[in-house]
Symmetry: C2
């Protein structure tokens, strides 16, 4: 991977300095490799950079979401509300499926995603409070 | 759920019109219920509205992410690149775990999340291209 990263770096550099300037033996060897792969490597890097940006956004959103479900769990506990709320969960699933369809995302995946996140919320609540359950 | 939604609506209304104005028998009955639950119901609604906003953002980000992994899959296929890239996956996991720690999100969850999303990407690729594999 480190080698690939370097190769991509070189691909970037050589796209601006594609000259017969001497960069030394190591650089020339890498440049030859980079010339073959350059456009594909650059395109792959561009797409992966976007994926990485989105993953960072997803992780930060999830971090905020867990802060709020923690608050929901505490609120319910303080006021003796039942931790589970099947009607709320059904409403969340229906809404996310609908949003997914509009965004051209597989609604099945959106539902699986919510189930996955809720399972983690449940795990947090159980760890924090004994054996409660809440989808938020 | 419809009844709960109505109750929350009333709770909102009564917080501004907590007077002896007559709203009719049905409204008075609902208002009595709402008075007991009002602050908790409003707080729960507020927290759930935020969760719903975040879930919408998550779904839309995931929709964009899948568009890009689809592009990655097509790029790799066109140029005969191997669909799987274990080094890239290891790098993604390490990065997400680190971002999660900074955001006070359980790094284990961040890793499980990426694995979950990648499994879906693989499923998409397999459905679209035969039996390839790519984490993007």
């Amino acid at each position: 991977m480190a080698r690939d990263a370097w190769r991509l770096k070189v691909a970037n550099v050589t796209s601006w300095h594609r000259s017969d300037r001497s960069f030394g033996r190591r650089r020339r060897r890498l440049t030859r490799v980079a010339r073959v792969e350059e456009p594909v490597a650059i395109e792959l890097r561009r797409l992966r950079d976007s994926i990485d940006n989105m993953d960072a956004a997803l992780v930060h959103l999830l971090a905020e979401r867990f802060k709020i479900t923690k608050e929901v769990g505490e609120l319910k506990r303080r006021h003796g509300l039942p931790p589970a709320d099947p009607a709320r969960e059904a409403q969340q699933i229906a809404r996310l499926r609908s949003l997914a369809s509009e965004a051209k995302l597989d609604p099945e995946f959106a539902e699986k995603f919510l189930t996955f996140v809720v399972a983690e919320v449940v795990r947090h609540h159980e760890a924090a409070l004994g054996s409660t359950r809440s989808a938020g």
